[in-house]
């Protein structure tokens, strides 16, 4: 879990959904993800704290719940009661910053929080790309097998006057519908599954747009898989028995 100690009444006070903010030592506000209610107790590093409030959506590092305690309590838990702090929160931008400290804006802090997660997000990005390649492969394979199965149909259509362009357009349409259906299913699943995850998931509009473009590209690339069957088929194949 993450531990935040703050000066009571000062900046950093959590927005409590249930109960109240801590009024003194031994009291704590917990994230709802921890599953504790007001009045319950939680032990942190051997110190027993009483839950006085529950806040929602205050987690970071992929859903790790956060505990808000008076700063003295945090110093007792983390620094052996020494008067130390890791962060100073200010209102407005400080004109000068003491040596050894660095001024950061809200978005900068948010980005900085993601630093320890860099390798994890990179792994997820890699998986994301791999899954896209696999999806393209599956759609391509389906189309290839479907084209292979219909070689005689292509031959018959060609023998009856269908042009290569018409056959390709049919294939491309099938691939695009397949890719679009897969993308739609992905959007539905993402929206259904997002709330189930133990941390907050935001799907930006750009992700939907990227998916639509990707579906288009994957569909068109998959068309290439069936290209040879449709274009290369000899219409004379339509003659003769099965």
């Amino acid at each position: 879990m993450n531990l935040i100690g703050y000066r009571l009444g000062g900046l950093g006070s959590p927005a409590v959904q249930d109960g109240r903010v801590p009024a003194g030592p031994g009291e704590v506000v917990v994230d709802s993800e921890l599953g504790l209610g007001v009045g319950e107790q939680v032990t942190v590093s051997g110190r027993t704290l009483r839950v006085v409030g529950v806040a929602e959506g205050v987690s970071y590092y992929f859903g790790q719940p956060t505990l808000f305690v008076p700063i003295a309590e945090a110093q007792a838990i983390a620094f052996g009661r020494q008067p130390l702090a890791m962060t100073i929160v200010t209102q407005g931008v400080p004109a000068t910053v003491p040596d050894g400290l660095q001024a950061m804006s809200g978005p900068q802090v948010r980005t900085d929080l993601e630093r320890p997660l860099a390798s994890s997000t990179q792994t997820i990005g890699l998986l994301d790309a791999l899954l896209l390649v696999v999806a393209a492969g599956i759609i391509g394979s389906i189309l290839y097998l479907s084209a292979l199965e219909r070689v005689r149909d292509f031959a018959v259509l060609k023998a009856t006057g269908a042009s290569n362009r018409a056959l390709l357009a049919g294939l491309a349409l099938q691939a695009l519908l397949l890719a679009a259906a897969a993308a739609l299913l992905a959007v539905l699943l993402a929206n259904l599954l997002a709330p189930v995850f133990p941390f907050n998931i935001e799907i930006p509009t750009s992700a939907y747009l990227r998916l639509a473009v990707l579906a288009l590209v994957v569909g068109l690339v998959a068309t290439l898989a069936g290209l040879r069957q449709a274009v290369g088929v000899d219409p004379a194949l339509a003659f003769g028995g099965r």
Binding site: R150, D153, G161, A162, S163, A166, F239, G241
Partner: protein
């Protein structure tokens, strides 16, 4: 004037690494309204001729003229246009698209020709009714009997009201009850303004035809008498692709049997001397010569009609000839 005119048509192609010539110098004239039967065994060139007539296969030599159009001179879009509008094909095994309903199968050639949706549907409906399948209009090929599928195939072939209707073994997969309706339909379609060509190996279809083209290479009439030949080195007794006539026995000299490959090279299959025979399988089974017999040193050979040969060489049957044949 004949509606369909074929002159000196030859089709030659490579198959299995060797040169094959299923059609060799075919001439045929068919007036409008006739039904022509291409009769012959498998491999006799029936389907090849249909493919050439359909504009799918380009012949090696010769011309085909249909009405005012010289089919063998058509290329590219003109050929596609000919296939679309002049030719209708009824394929063996029906060849319907299984995922489409009966009317949709009939509509397919019209889609390809970019005919508008409403006329396409109306034409398909009319043709499905014409072949007597109005009550099966929502069915897919898998739910139809063989005869019904073949009638859908005929309806599809008629989508553009073609002047040339080609049918490849249209009764091959049907029982005798279904055959009747297909034969009646084909016969009725051979009306003024249209030529119907049916390829079949089934001689029972003979009464259907106005004209019959025998595709199996029959031995010429002089193949009934014994023929003696004296040939110089380099001369051939017969050539690969020729019609088979006699079985030859070498009296003296040497004859080599060679097969011409598609790259022009020759495979030497056998070298034969006095007392040996060659060229027996062609006339026995009604096949064209599968190799060339060429004289190596001045040779005297005697050609025997099949009946005489059987009497002379294999009075007990031909099985051992087939087993021991050099080619």
């Amino acid at each position: 004037m004949a509606e369909l005119e074929i002159r000196d048509l030859t089709v030659q192609y490579a198959s299995g690494g060797y040169v094959v010539r299923p059609i060799d110098g075919l001439d045929l004239q068919v007036p409008s309204g006739e039904l022509v039967l291409l009769l012959g065994a498998s491999g006799s060139g029936k389907t090849t001729l249909l493919s050439v007539l359909a504009g799918i296969l380009t012949p090696s030599a010769g011309t085909i003229r249909f009405g005012d159009v010289e089919v063998t001179g058509l290329r590219g879009a003109a050929l596609t246009n000919y296939r679309r509008h002049t030719v209708g094909i009824v394929f063996q095994s029906f060849n319907l698209v299984p995922s489409l309903t009966a009317p949709e199968n009939v509509q397919a050639p019209l889609w390809a020709a970019k005919v508008k949706a409403e006329p396409t549907r109306a034409r398909a409906r009319q043709l499905i009714e014409q072949v007597g399948l109005a009550d099966r209009a929502d069915h897919r090929p898998g739910d139809l009997s063989g005869g019904q599928q073949q009638r859908v195939a005929i309806a599809r072939a008629l989508a553009h009201d073609p002047a040339l209707l080609l049918a490849d073994e249209p009764t091959a997969h049907l029982d005798y009850i279904q055959v009747e309706s297909i034969l009646r339909a084909l016969r009725e379609l051979a009306s003024p303004g249209r030529v119907v060509i049916v390829a079949t190996h089934d001689e029972r279809l003979l009464p259907l035809a106005d004209r019959v083209v025998e595709m199996t290479p029959r031995a010429p009439s002089d193949a009934q008498i014994v023929k003696q030949l004296v040939l110089e080195a380099g001369q051939t007794v017969f050539e690969q692709g020729d019609r088979s006539d006699l079985v030859y026995v070498i009296e003296e000299g040497e004859v080599e049997i060679v097969r011409v490959r598609d790259d022009g090279a020759e495979d030497r299959l056998a070298s034969l001397g006095a007392g040996q025979y060659f060229g027996e399988l062609g006339p026995l089974f009604g096949l064209r010569r599968s190799a060339t017999a060429r004289v190596v040193t001045r040779a005297a050979v005697t050609g025997y009609p099949v009946r005489d040969f059987r009497q002379m060489i294999a009075p007990d049957g031909i099985a051992h000839i087939v087993r021991t044949a050099a080619h």
